[in-house]
Symmetry: C2
Subunit: 212 residues, 2 copies
Amino acid sequence: MDNKALYNLSYGVFMLATKHDGKVNGCITNTCMQVANSPTRVAISCINANYTCELIKKSGIFALTLLDETCDFDTIKHFGMQSGRDVDKFTGSFDLSSLPADLNQIPYLKEHACSVISCKVLESSDLGSHTLFIAEILDAILLNDKKPLTYADYQARVKPRPDAPKTEDTGKKIIGWKCKICGYVYDGSELPADYTCPLCGHPAEDFEPIYG
Amino acid sequence: MDNKALYNLSYGVFMLATKHDGKVNGCITNTCMQVANSPTRVAISCINANYTCELIKKSGIFALTLLDETCDFDTIKHFGMQSGRDVDKFTGSFDLSSLPADLNQIPYLKEHACSVISCKVLESSDLGSHTLFIAEILDAILLNDKKPLTYADYQARVKPRPDAPKTEDTGKKIIGWKCKICGYVYDGSELPADYTCPLCGHPAEDFEPIYG
């Protein structure tokens, strides 16, 4: 199986937010599609280790902001490359009081965002690394007329270019791998080819070796 | 709810094929995403009324050809705008003997296609108009280095421009709606705004009124 064949699947880039028991959190995802039109249903997939996923399992509701082509790396870094377990993401530039909220009082982004979709989970399926949620759409708002940001465009244009690969330090042993995007460290000498960063979702090719 | 907000979700364009009890069929879809990476899983959604969907429910296997940016309307028309119940799609330009087959002996396209993913269904969920299938990947092959065709690109560049809207025939009653892409006829005076053609999947805006 050639994992690169799967990279040709097309995705958008989203800020997925939820609220449970007073706690609001959001993360960056790339997996949402409309899966039925009568009645209207969408499916999203979330990394189980993510705090947003944990909260959606409890709240059963979410707001998906569809980022547009003007979105910058700062927005993606803010929501995608730190955990809501460590920081409150809805402070500073994204202070809760400065953002609009949907019918469930979940915040969404108004800048660099072309749509927001408010959903209620109907079914979920635990798939190991991720949970797939099938949801009813409670509301959908068109925010501007810009094109949505695609994951391919994010990879090609928005994310910072990783530094040129360093010459291999021969004679030294690889003891781990570090994500060049968010800094997450994988412990182990061999990084599986289909590995994706549990924090920011970037693939194995965005990791660099750590020598012992 | 503004249905246009949902149009900002990003998709690819695929030829989805299966084989059951000697019968091979394929159709055009736009809904597939990788939903887990450990183990690797994808989800696809199919219109229940489609023959390919009926066959996948029985066979439990499928091959998804990811069309590339060079794909022309003829390929999409051939697989997407006629039913395998009426015609054998794997004859003529797409004769079975001229196409490669995957490990399950399901044909895939080698022209205008950048990847093929061979899958086995693990779970399915009937969502009314569509069924969502969660599948294991048995094999994935990278076919060329071209960019995948996105659904947005298909809508903007590949599909023929519908004729300019005709002046409304006032005084005449609307008795139905015809899909301008494939000719499918909807019986009824009011076409729901979120309607999509059950034959070719195009939205309500691609229908024109039929006057009585």
